[in-house]
Symmetry: C2
Subunit: 359 residues, 2 copies
């Protein structure tokens, strides 16, 4: 289906359209100084013979080094956003193939001013494209407005804003993920529903700062509760809040929680930090471990999974998200390739003790 022999070049187009290479070039890149007549001629020929520019020659001649900037919350090793950064690392290999480099700009996700500074820094780089996670919604809207104005394409990862200026979005179906979480928790007794009376669920949540950040896990929680009301309306559900900034306090919090709420058989956590409660479960409930399900393949989570203190992890391929987002932008920039889909919901992986190894 490809006839590689008689490759059609720009020169051929020029000849067939009765103009020079320069004119074809001007048409291809919309840089004016072309009469309507010539323009139409060239366009017709291009369409007729299906001309496609040779990207090697193009890149070779261009020889410019564009950069795609990834705008992320800063992270320590083992934290959620590190995975996103890891994805960028993988994308680099692909991007460098096309002479585009990946820069990462970080900000403190608890400090809105640092986000604003990061935006300024980002614009200073004058990137060819941007990948970002809209942690601060309003400020992100400001940034993307500037990007649109400057004609810089951008993609969302993790979450998106409800506008339509972005090129692509890669994220997780949050509602479904909560639903799935509940299923994995309670699948164990679906064949013996009468035992549902003996179950009690604990939902571990994070004490949140009062800031303007968005909390994507609310949707996940909805999915979870909908599953519960549909399948196990009588199961007791309790919530407890822990403070991730003070790891020492967690075991105390949970200890008193378990005392005042005896008979907890299931534990769910809707963000990436199940690993924080794993040690507490192991010491407080060594005898009768509740069945625990959490999210995201952080190293600490995987370790807890292997130890058996977490039963299942649902992962959203955070690294893949950034990788694909970057790739879509690179394809768009270099190959003029429109993405297949704008909104891309990633597949959720279910991880158990027995399939983590080759992850």
């Amino acid at each position: 289906m490809e006839k590689e022999k008689g490759k059609i070049t720009l020169k051929d187009v020029a000849r067939m359209a009765g103009v020079s290479r320069g004119t074809v070039d001007r048409v291809l890149h919309n840089r004016g100084d072309v009469s309507k007549r010539s323009y139409d001629n060239v366009m017709r020929v291009i369409k007729d013979i299906g001309y496609e520019p040779n990207i090697y020659a193009s890149i070779l001649a261009h020889d410019q080094n564009r950069s795609v900037v990834l705008l992320l919350p800063s992270y320590h090793t083992g934290e959620y956003w590190e995975m996103a950064a890891r994805g960028a690392e993988q994308a680099k290999a692909y991007a460098r193939t096309f002479n585009v480099s990946i820069e990462t700009v970080l900000y403190d996700q608890y400090d809105i001013d640092s986000f604003r500074e990061a935006c300024i820094q980002l614009l200073g780089i004058s990137p060819a494209a941007v990948v970002l996670a809209p942690v601060f919604r309003n400020e992100t809207a400001v940034l993307t407005a500037v990007l649109r104005e400057r004609g810089i394409p951008y993609s969302y990862v993790d979450t998106k804003l409800e506008e339509d200026g972005y090129l692509t979005f890669y994220g997780m179906p949050m509602y479904k993920s909560g639903y799935l979480c509940a299923e994995l928790l309670f699948d164990s007794i679906s064949s013996v529903p009468e035992s549902a009376d003996q179950m009690k669920v604990a939902i571990i949540r994070i004490e949140r700062d009062k800031n303007r950040k968005s909390d994507p896990t609310v949707t996940r929680r909805e999915g979870f509760f909908d599953y519960m009301t549909e399948h196990y309306p009588n199961v007791e559900i309790r919530s407890v809040f822990i403070n991730p900034r003070d790891p020492g306090s967690i075991i105390e919090t949970l200890s008193s929680f378990f005392e005042s709420n005896p008979g907890i058989t299931h534990v769910a956590m809707f963000n990436s930090r199940v690993h924080l409660i794993a040690p507490a479960l192991e010491t407080l409930r060594a005898g009768d471990m509740p069945r625990a399900v959490g999210f995201d393949n952080l190293d600490d989570n995987l370790a807890a999974l292997r130890r058996g203190s977490i039963r299942y992890l649902i992962t959203q391929h955070t690294d893949e998200q950034t990788r694909l987002a970057i790739n879509s932008l690179v394809d768009y920039l270099v190959l003029n390739k429109e993405p297949e889909r704008r909104d891309n919901y990633m597949h959720m992986d279910i991880l158990s003790r027995n399939n983590v190894d080759d992850y």
Copy 2:
């Protein structure tokens, strides 16, 4: 970490080594006519300054069209090997970036002569690289010997032969997949082991032709049985054979099986064809569906999963396997990039009704 400004070119290397571009070129491509002195000089400079050729210029100048051939059993839509072919489709996009095209050569997996013919056809194409699944072990060994002799790199997918001439292998950890299969089947009652007495497992197998083909699922079966003896040594396990060539017979076979083996609560199947027994389960066991687990994300399997007649599917990303295998070969051919790992065991995905949608 990249200094893109002063890109090092072949000319720079030539200058620094005190030779001409031609000589450097001869060194790079091992085509002789270079004195030992010059050779050493050039090699030293290359290593010192970390010269890397510009592949765009290289491809542009070279302008040759190589092809990678994928050697697979022929398939009908919805069958296992179709997924492998699908992966090739995805790899095409990447490959064409480098002026390499992907050809597929098919053979009848039940006819060894057709395989031999396919090999001849393959060699006729004089491919730059080959991806293959060693269905016929001995004949595959013959083929790979020829490939090695001709210096054509090749990669295995799905299964591999025990030799070390291949560039990469992408497959599934078969033993673990069987183990995982058992866990997913019986996880439901792990907290109430006393009910294990009431369980009965059926293993559905395929009547095999008597040919020299390899059966990779034996290892999977081992993993399954090991899990069972470790965790539920007293559970009854029965096997039943169905004939995939005669779909009409399946329901009869299973009907009489269920009659003579009442109380089957769990069903496992170790190849990609669970979809064959799903309708039978739905009609024969509508009231008390046994819990069924199978393998591979064939469309029919996914449909059965959605209908609820299969509880879990374990998938091995067959499409990814071929995609990655092809990519590894392309990288090796074009970029001279050695693969990171030779043997690559893919992650197993667990698919349930609630996470198939975004697959």
